[in-house]
């Protein structure tokens, strides 16, 4: 039976409720919300309330409504207050729309009154006597500092392995990336580090940057005025929901056509067809991993028909053959269009063969992208891409091949253009240089698996749910962490010195000391020896920018749980304890490197970091800019307003590669089949392609949603979409639990029938706490250590009949049908 809240009325926010600017801390789009808070014993009335409308009347469609998920009772300044977090009609990003993620922000807050999110960590925990025991910050940080200092002074900073988020929103943002960045890249020079979603410290989009084109170069308004939306490896209705609804849909209504490249038919394709008509939507359901061949054929067709923007190419792109040679840091040569074409030239027939789509459709795509209008005017096209190719086959060349198309048609830096990644989280990166990490960067998961490194600091990452080769990673990480736990247990009752000695001995014997900073006790946190509780956005002030570089301050409106702190202040505390411990050890010079963390608040961290590079930007000014904020880069401050930039590269000068000539480079994206080791063999040996997909209802690895009855009621187990004929062949029914196996490991989920699924393709939701898809993903990466999560093949068998919980859920089509 569907989950019922059994709520039939809610408190009304009074007219004098406090109002806070909120940018949704989940996806890249960053929808604007208003948070209202008011005392527990006060309320508004139907006619006199914070919304300024007559709530005694039924509100019309699109009207203001406080849904139960937008309400909670939380702590503010130590007092219980009502909280309402409601979509902001005046925010240009979402115009009052709320997504299934963001409109649950209030409900996903910790509340001892309503019982929500009681999984949140409240105090530091330390492994003592076989369990995690609460302790003080000073005690926890002392142990962290003592073990870390011992290990990096007896060995080197290379013994310290760090996993840390690099994103905005959630626990990221400019404050927290700066705090962690200053600790690990300024006070130390840690090079064995990785990012939350990939096993190295590297860009997800090296090639577009090397070509000079920063990956977030447009404004969302470009979708509204374009002729064609060219979407690759993305499912925006689910994953950038209000970008699709509030910007792409208006574009389609204004007459734009849409091309979607995705082996799977998605709700995005369905919705685009509903809005624009099937004749204006081209779904290229290519063979998995063949994107580059498609882009190259499109480019070839455009070049051969003379649909290139020759003025743009002459004025804004490199002209003289090869500019950057292929080498260990560059998986393809970069240079002029002519040079690139020698590698990229692909006939329609060749591409049709590789991609499994008709030549006519490839021609149609090329025409929709580049064939000039009848009056000879240039066709505008927005190109947008995400994980389908970022986590796909041959990341560098594939993204390069796509950017080639945009450059050849002059669709960058112009209204109705842009070639952009769509993004996952918001952005919020401000750190000292990471140049010491090197390129290619260390493959950190393999480093740990090889038994290297002695201390692992983890910041808001749960590799157990999200990394590749996860079966092996988990096995080894646990084994190494258990060595340290056993040593701590054996030294129980000892002094701090004795405990540290025991830990260091265990590390020297192959153990790993694990420090986990997170908001919940995560799966990887099961291996931790010290757990430090962090707060999230709105439990602290947090700045981030969205997918059109829109910078906002999302304001603190409530207390964090217990003694949890902002990550930047946790990093500062670690640095201060490192300084103290190193000084005690007699290492004054090293201790001095950990000075400069006397921050009282997250604003202090912001001023120490982001503001130093962007002196116009302060909290006060951002607060005044409200939910519409300012689009980065911020270039001035006039008449009380921060001045930003709507769209990058409007002058035709490209600088992301750092070249003085400011000319964009084309990528010699030669097709080479399966790039990552082991992929071709795995495909040959297994029956099913295991596509790795997202669903709008879950935010990332469900770290909060795993505690949401509404969400878990819908999908109690990770769904695995499958064609009904494949189901019949396997003898499985909807909701049955199935196991996916291959040489890398096994995982499991719940069968969900999808008639449009291709035979032999299944689509499993990523990052589930109840079944990690990463268990079956092989360790293959590209030359720059970008994982190919999307390409995994396995065999499938039935584990069990649907549980009563699974039997109760709907297995109907996700596609809208009027």
């Amino acid at each position: 039976m569907a989950y019922k809240r059994q709520i039939d009325r809610l408190p009304i926010p009074p007219a004098d409720a406090k109002v806070h600017n909120v940018t949704c801390h989940y996806c890249i789009v960053g929808c604007g919300y208003k948070a209202y808070t008011w005392p527990r014993n006060k309320q508004g009335t139907l006619t006199d309330n914070a919304f300024g409308i007559d709530l005694g009347e039924q509100q019309p469609a699109d009207g203001t409504w406080l849904a139960p998920s937008m309400y909670n009772l939380v702590q503010q300044g130590g007092k219980d207050v009502h909280l309402a977090v409601v979509p902001d009609h005046d925010c240009v990003v979402n115009s009052g729309l709320g997504s299934i993620r963001g409109a649950r922000m209030a409900e996903n807050r910790p509340s001892r009154v309503t019982g929500t999110q009681q999984q949140r960590l409240t105090d530091p925990l330390m492994w003592r006597n076989g369990v995690w025991q609460p302790t003080s910050w000073d005690d926890a940080l002392d142990l962290v500092a003592r073990v870390t200092a011992r290990v990096i002074t007896e060995g080197s900073e290379d013994e310290l392995v760090v996993s840390m988020f690099d994103h905005g929103g959630s626990a990221g943002g400019y404050e927290n990336t700066w705090g962690t960045g200053k600790l690990y890249f300024e006070s130390m020079k840690v090079k064995n580090c990785r990012i939350h979603n990939r096993p190295a410290y590297n860009s997800e989009v090296h090639s577009t940057r090397d070509m000079g084109v920063g990956e977030l170069n447009y404004s969302y308004s470009d979708y509204e005025v374009t002729d064609t939306i060219f979407m690759i490896g993305a499912n925006s209705l689910e994953t950038q929901t209000n970008l699709f609804l509030n910007h792409m849909v208006p574009g389609l209504r204004n007459g734009a056509r849409m091309i979607v490249v995705d082996p799977r038919r998605t709700v995005t394709v369905n919705a685009a067809e509903e809005v624009a008509g099937v004749e204006n939507v081209l779904h290229l359901a290519i063979n998995e991993g063949s994107d580059m061949a498609l882009f190259n054929a499109i480019l070839t067709h455009i070049v051969d028909n003379g649909w290139t923007d020759d003025d743009f190419i002459a004025n804004s792109t490199f002209q003289n053959g090869e500019a950057v040679a292929m080498d260990s840091a560059h998986p393809a040569a970069l240079g002029s269009l002519d040079m690139a074409m020698q590698a990229c030239r692909t006939s329609l027939e060749e591409a049709a063969e590789v991609c499994g789509v008709p030549t006519d459709d490839i021609v149609k795509a090329a025409e929709w992208i580049a064939k000039p209008h009848d009056d000879g005017s240039r066709r505008k096209c927005v190109t947008c891409y995400e994980k389908g190719i970022i986590w796909g086959n041959d990341n560098y060349r594939t993204i390069g091949a796509l950017v080639n198309v945009a450059l050849a048609t002059g669709n960058v830096g112009r209204e109705g253009g842009g070639v952009c990644r769509l993004g996952g989280h918001q952005e919020g990166y401000y750190r000292p240089s990471d140049a010491h990490v090197g390129r290619p960067a260390e493959y950190v998961d393999q480093f740990l698996i090889r038994g290297l490194g002695g201390v692992h600091h983890i910041w808001a990452c749960d590799h157990h749910k999200t990394t590749l080769n996860a079966s092996e990673f988990k096995r080894v990480h646990k084994k190494r962490a258990d060595l340290v736990k056993d040593a701590m247990d054996a030294a129980a009752g000892g002094t701090r010195e004795q405990i540290v000695d025991a830990i260091v001995s265990a590390i020297n014997a192959g153990g790993l000391f694990v420090v986990d900073v997170d908001i919940i006790h995560s799966q990887i946190g099961q291996n931790a020896h010290v757990i430090l509780p962090a707060v999230e956005s709105n439990e602290m002030n947090l700045t981030s920018m969205n997918g059109e570089r829109r910078l906002r301050l999302s304001e603190k409106y409530m207390d964090g749980p217990g003694t949890a702190k902002p990550d930047c202040l946790i990093a500062a505390g670690m640095a201060q304890h490192m300084e103290r411990v190193l000084r005690e050890m007699g290492n004054d010079a090293y201790a001095d490197q950990f000075k400069g963390y006397d921050w009282e608040t997250e604003e202090d961290a912001f001023m120490d970091g982001f503001n130093k590079g962007n002196p116009e930007v302060t909290y006060e000014r951002l607060r005044a800019m409200g939910n519409n904020g300012v689009q980065e880069p911020v270039i001035g401050f006039e008449n009380g307003q921060l001045i930003g930039v709507e769209r990058l590269y409007t002058d035709g000068k490209f600088d992301r590669h750092g070249r003085d000539d400011k000319r964009a480079l084309f990528c010699a994206a030669g097709w080479r089949g399966w790039q990552a080791p082991g992929k071709a063999r795995e495909k040959a040996n297994h029956k099913f392609w295991i596509n790795n997909v997202r669903a709008n209802i879950f935010w990332q690895n469900q770290f909060l949603d795993q505690d949401s009855d509404f969400v878990q009621d819908r999908f109690p187990y990770p769904f695995i979409e499958m064609n009904p004929d494949d189901m019949a062949e396997l003898g499985v029914n909807p909701g049955d639990l199935i196991e996916i196996t291959n040489d890398n490991g096994a995982t499991q989920g719940m069968v969900y029938p999808v008639t449009t699924a291709k035979r032999g393709h299944v689509a499993m939701v990523f990052g589930s706490p109840a079944g990690s898809q990463g268990n079956v993903i092989n360790p293959g990466v590209n030359e720059l250590v970008l994982p190919d999560y999307k390409h995994t093949w396995g065999d499938i068998r039935k584990l069990a009949d649907a549980t009563p919980q699974a039997r109760a859920v709907s297995f109907k089509s996700k596609e809208y049908t009027a």
Partner: protein, 178 residues
Amino acid sequence: MSKKCNRLVDVGRRQFLRGSALAAAGAAASTVTSAPAQAAPANAQIDYPSGKLANIADLAVNAPMDIEYPDADSPGILIKLGEPVEGGVGPDGDIVAYSVLCPHKGWFMSYNSEDRTMNCPGHFSRFDVEAGGQQVWGHATQNLPQFTLRVDDAGDIYAEGCSDLIFGRPTNVLYGEE
């Protein structure tokens, strides 16, 4: 989509275009009674009106009937599914009723009789009327408000409660507490 629901959508559009609290003419409207005036102090729980929606004899399988509950501004459907479902009433345990305002942004939804779902033309959300109004896919942060039904000895079907907050109101019984 049934003819009835087309009409419902049209009724709804008129109603919302007018921005009026008054209902357009509807078959069930006259049968909905207002809750009695509240005595102070208020009860801890909302008192729902008991509204007669139809008689079992009026219902055919998979032919939804337009209803309005708890008041004329809250359109819904009453439907006999032909198969028993959880929460279903009547001798066959197969009669259910739901709000038809999408709990995402309040658009009027239409019924797809082929797969028995409510579909929102605004933003493509859909709900399974055979699974307690569970959102199959969409943006709403709750499942479809389901009306609590009672059938009397004469086969008259009454609505007497609701599982979730109805879109566009702070209280499900909007006019009963004034």
